[in-house]
């Protein structure tokens, strides 16, 4: 490498000071300084993220055994086996059910909460909604596994608090995690409890960027309440709606800890009853670490990845007409 391209320090042009050793070192390092700063983070990413991701892609085309010994090229065998598995298709349906309920519910509930908190803040004396905001956000900072275990007790059909309360209204409350029909809704209730606070904060940030004056302008024109929400607030909030939709989709498609824990992962029986809560993530985990079928698990991960990319592309396209950026 020549030093021709490196900018010459002023001292060199003036010829005033002789160059010191640190000065020379600095000149030598300067062109790479940016890379040096990025390296630690990039190194971690490459070793623990990009390489495994690439390996996963490779493994899905091999009959792979842990450690690599005795592995052989499999072509599309893994895909053939996978597509012939009813459980794989079932898990797709379960995941779809989870995502299709969670994403709209997250949007509606967190936006409604954000509107309520903002309204409460506006009518409170100090014009802040700090406490209600903190209380709603609180579940999000609790560990998934710990609070899931608590919810196992809350949702216990015989002794749980949930049914204790419900018995006051209905004679035959649901069996929650122990029934195939209510196991998924149980997980959805828990997940919403845990996550809506986070999405609410995103919506609050979006709402804060809408000047009050616009709502007053709408009010002067006789547009208030829900009409004002529909015609002024929502259109200006679409960037937040898009962000929340994408984040909620990715997060729910990859959800694992709460499903594993709520459905009895501690006793090695996650995903039940009768596979009613076996999502993709759970099935991948069980295939890899329960049945030691790594190449099949890798193939499923690849499929999940492709599905996520497709979904995100579709969402981008769908939202491109809706989202308004100022």
């Amino acid at each position: 490498m020549t030093t021709l391209d490196a900018p010459r320090p002023v001292s060199a042009l003036v010829g005033a000071e002789p160059r010191s050793v640190p000065d020379r070192l600095r000149r030598l390092v300067r062109p790479f300084a940016g890379y040096l700063f990025v390296f630690p983070a990039l190194g971690v990413l490459v070793v623990f993220y990009y390489v495994p991701a690439l390996l996963l892609f490779v493994i899905s085309f091999f009959h792979y055994h842990l450690g690599g010994a005795g592995s052989s090229f499999a072509g599309l065998d893994n895909f053939r086996v996978l597509f012939a598995q009813p459980l794989f298709w079932k898990s797709l349906v379960v995941t779809g059910y989870y995502v299709l309920v969670m994403v709209p519910a997250t949007l509606v509930i967190s936006l409604a909460l954000a509107m309520l908190v903002r309204d409460a803040a506006r009518h409170s004396k100090r014009k802040r909604g700090g406490l209600s905001q903190a209380l709603i956000f609180l579940p999000h900072v609790t560990p998934l596994v710990a609070t899931s275990l608590v919810w196992v007790y809350i949702l216990n059909p015989q002794y749980g608090v949930m049914n204790y309360v419900l018995r006051a209204f209905v004679s035959n409350p649901p069996g929650w995690l122990e029934s195939t029909g209510y196991s998924m809704p149980s997980i959805e209730i828990y997940s919403l409890w845990h996550s809506v606070g986070f999405y609410m904060v995103l919506f609050l940030a979006g709402l804060a960027s809408i000047p009050d004056r616009l709502l007053e302008a709408a009010r002067v024109e006789g547009v208030r309440g829900f009409a004002a929400f529909r015609r002024v607030v929502f259109p200006l909030l679409t960037p937040s709606v898009y962000l929340v939709t994408v984040l909620a989709t990715v997060n729910t498609m990859q959800a694992f800890s709460q499903i594993y824990t709520l459905t009895g992962g501690a006793h090695g029986e996650a995903g039940g009853p009768a596979y009613s809560t076996t999502t993709d993530a759970l099935l991948i985990y069980q295939t890899a670490f329960f049945y030691n079928h790594f190449s099949l698990a890798a193939t499923m991960s690849l499929m999940l990845f492709v599905l996520l990319v497709l979904l995100t592309v579709v969402q981008r396209w769908g939202f491109s007409k809706l989202v308004f950026y100022r």
Binding site: R213, A217, V220, E221, R231, F324, R326
Partner: protein, 374 residues
Amino acid sequence: MLQLDGITKTYGHDVALSGIGVMIEEGEFFSIVGPSGCGKSTLLRIVAGLDEPDDGTVSIDGVDVSGWEPVERGIGMVFQNYALFPHLTAGANIGFGLKGRLPKEELRRRVAEIAELLELDAAMLERRPRQLSGGQRQRVALGRALIRRPRVLLMDEPLSSADAPLRERMRSELKGFHQRAGTTTLYVTHDQREAMSMSDRMMVLDHGRAQQVGRPIDVYRRPATAFAARFVGSPGMSVWPMPVRAADGRHRLVTVDGNPWPVQVPCPAGTEGVLVGVRPERLGLRPCSEDSAVLHCTVDTIEPQGEQALVHASYCGNAVVAAVEAAAAEQLGAEVDLWLSAGDLHLFAVDSGQRLADGRGDAEAARAGSAVGG
């Protein structure tokens, strides 16, 4: 037409408005002018129905509209910085309030009608606010306020976001528009020049109290309070306190060093001083009448303005401004004698700032030939 009666509003311990009452006539262009924080925007919001007063009533066409929504009051409003909806086109902004209330064709016709009145062409109606210039945004905001054919048009500092040349143009545009449309207009501004040049009548507001209501020229010639005197005019009146000495039943002004002034003061017995005001244009470098009085001043700065120059001077520690010929101002040294005619003096009470009943400044008004009620 629009009547305000005893409007009072407090925020905690701060009095925003105190007993404001005024009657605004049909078709009138009425300005509320005052420094920031004087309560003028609060007053406008109360008229609009965006805020409720603690006390007092707003009536439109003789009907008390307290508690009515803005749209029920039949008002249109142009907000400060316009508050246009950024996600809607100019046309949709204008038609915002009528959308869904009129058939589509009818709405389009109304928008086109307003656009024509405001000289907005069809291409502009398709643009979003951020693609429009400041002047065009103002016209869109005006269009949105006017499309419902309001009985009263409210404007909250509509020119404050424009730069100086644009402001000048939009000022005349607004005035021209008012002359064509004749909508009763309530206009809020901190810029007394805007109020002076545009309004039929104006209210000078300070600390939530109406200082004076009247035609701009009358406020200029016969300010009712020392505040109005200082605030109106460019620059405003110079006002300073002077001692008063009683002798054989009459009160005379004296200078600080005890020299009598050729000016008699109408004030109750025991008065020790008054506020004296004079317009910069009425201060000269030479005596101009037989009852002239002189101020020995030190010159602070000289501000050339072309034909004239403003001499900022100090008289016994009080700021005094005189507008003199630029050529003469160039010759000035560190000291200057400023002459004024006793007839040009305006006198105000020291404590209340109220104009003293028959101050000699009235002569000026009389000379200008305007008929002003006592």
